[in-house]
Symmetry: C2
Subunit: 302 residues, 2 copies
């Protein structure tokens, strides 16, 4: 199925108009500023119309949420299109054992323990500053269909050389058409089901050629087998003609990514053990590199 | 496949021994106290051995995490066996817009806004008290296999009349055997895959007859179709001979549950609009009801 019929047969989510209006207002209030759309987290593909079960894609949203912070540091305004309950920028640092970081003072106030202050203060400060200056907009989604609609709507509002599209979400390649979905929870006493999946149309072609041809566009590729990572990344650049693929392997993705450009050159970004010990995140290096490339692209456009 | 061969063919998770030792120490330190094992959240069923995709069961963990708080209030010690990243007792109240609840004071400390204090203080106080008195143990899992092993291990340590098993997790009915799983990420250019699922063996029989026949055991049933809820609940009680099924429908589960006992009597627990407006949670009523039933059961045992 091509992408046009996909959108024709999958109506927009009920709250679509209000979300896209918020995105539009955000974009308008930052005209002529560098802006990044970050997609983050997995997408769910329901198995039943009254959904109890779904197929999901593994992603905690680490890459997207960390990158959002570094893009803000680098002067970008950020639209963060993320899977509900996946990691969010800034919030991610507070999630683990949150309540153990809080303490009650004299039964009169609750505060972050002083031992945590030095770590959390700069993060909270940046969050408050970004929020107060309206420099970040967070937009949650859950299902593949919601993602598809919000991606299209956002891209179409960002078709300028100021825009960077950083498509880091782990989007399902497969879905079940509503017409083939069971209405109610599939019953186990009917025996084990076969789930017949359909291919999700590749919308990257529409992003690069129709929705946002003027933006700088980065797609991501996650594989588990090194043998096909390079070949698939180069194949995508030939097919979609966007600017960059960031490729990584499931098991080394936190310390090694490969930036594959249209000229076929592969740049390696690699964290050393020392870097990791010092708390350096690979997204810091990725964003610096990407910003430099976007700057160059920006200058070359009329 | 029966449950014995399921365990034979799916080895225990690598950290199993250390987790079960922690559970054992916890159980031993609360001898002759009423104890509840709460299972909560969904389970994942990987599609690939190097997992990028999985089948999941819808559950935020609301029922389990809220119930844990009310069981502590009711004097139980709690083992909370929950899906990673699903809701946790106490923490759940802080999750939404957490950072907006915090403020920086004079660049010297971070505190919960005074306007949030009255709501959050009693929750944090109960959390700290439960933790300090070692009255709650939280044990995370992700996959169906981890859940199956941890359930069996925990039940076998809790085979006394002091134990309540409150099996609220949304456990997958289906799985893919490792021998039939692709090693690497399934490629979309091979065409859309068919996923052939197998039935997960019903371990409730083993729980009630072998692992913890002396405990008070409650299973949960979630359906989307009212027509089969009552019939399936009664069927389960006949088959497994446990004490209670708590049944609910997907779309009304936060305001209505049905308690179905071995005598076939169905009790309705229903929140009014007024209750909901006043912030009453249905788990508060469920736990009071269940505690009374467990008390009665407890007295009737030698």
């Amino acid at each position: 199925m091509d992408w046009e019929s996909f959108y024709d047969t999958h109506p927009s989510p009920s709250n679509y108009e209000s979300i896209i209006t918020a995105v539009e207002n955000f974009v308008c209030s930052h005209e002529n500023e560098k802006m990044v759309l970050i997609t983050s987290g997995g997408t769910t593909v329901p198995i039943e119309q009254n959904t109890v079960r779904f197929v999901d894609n593994f992603s905690l949203g680490t890459r997207g949420s960390a990158s959002a912070e570094y893009f803000l540091d680098a002067g970008y305004v950020v639209i963060f299109l993320y899977r509900s309950n996946s990691l969010e920028p800034f919030v991610r640092h507070f999630n683990n054992s949150l309540l153990d970081k809080l303490e009650i003072v004299d039964d009169k106030s609750i505060q972050v323990k002083q031992s945590e202050f030095d770590t959390l203060y700069p993060i909270l400060k940046k969050y408050k500053d970004a929020k107060n200056a309206n420099r970040i907009l967070t937009v949650p989604f859950t299902t593949l269909i919601e993602y598809m609609w919000l991606l299209r709507g956002s891209c179409m509002l960002m078709d300028t050389k100021y825009s960077l599209l950083y498509l880091a979400a782990a989007v399902s390649d497969f879905y079940i058409p509503p017409s083939e979905m069971a209405e109610h929870k599939v019953q186990s006493n009917d025996g084990p089901p076969m789930i017949a999946l359909r291919l999700v149309p590749k919308v990257l072609y529409a992003v690069t050629h129709i929705w946002a041809p003027n933006a700088y566009i980065i797609s991501f590729k996650l594989e588990t087998d090194y043998g096909i990572l390079e070949q698939k990344s180069k194949g995508a650049l030939i097919k979609y003609k966007h600017q960059l693929v960031i490729g990584n392997l499931l098991h080394t993705r936190k310390r090694n990514v490969k930036l594959i450009g249209q000229d076929g050159v592969i740049e390696d970004i690699l964290l050393t053990d020392e870097d990791i010990k010092n708390g350096i995140e690979i997204e810091d290096l990725i964003v610096s590199n990407v910003k430099a490339k976007h700057d160059q692209f920006f200058k070359s456009q009329k």
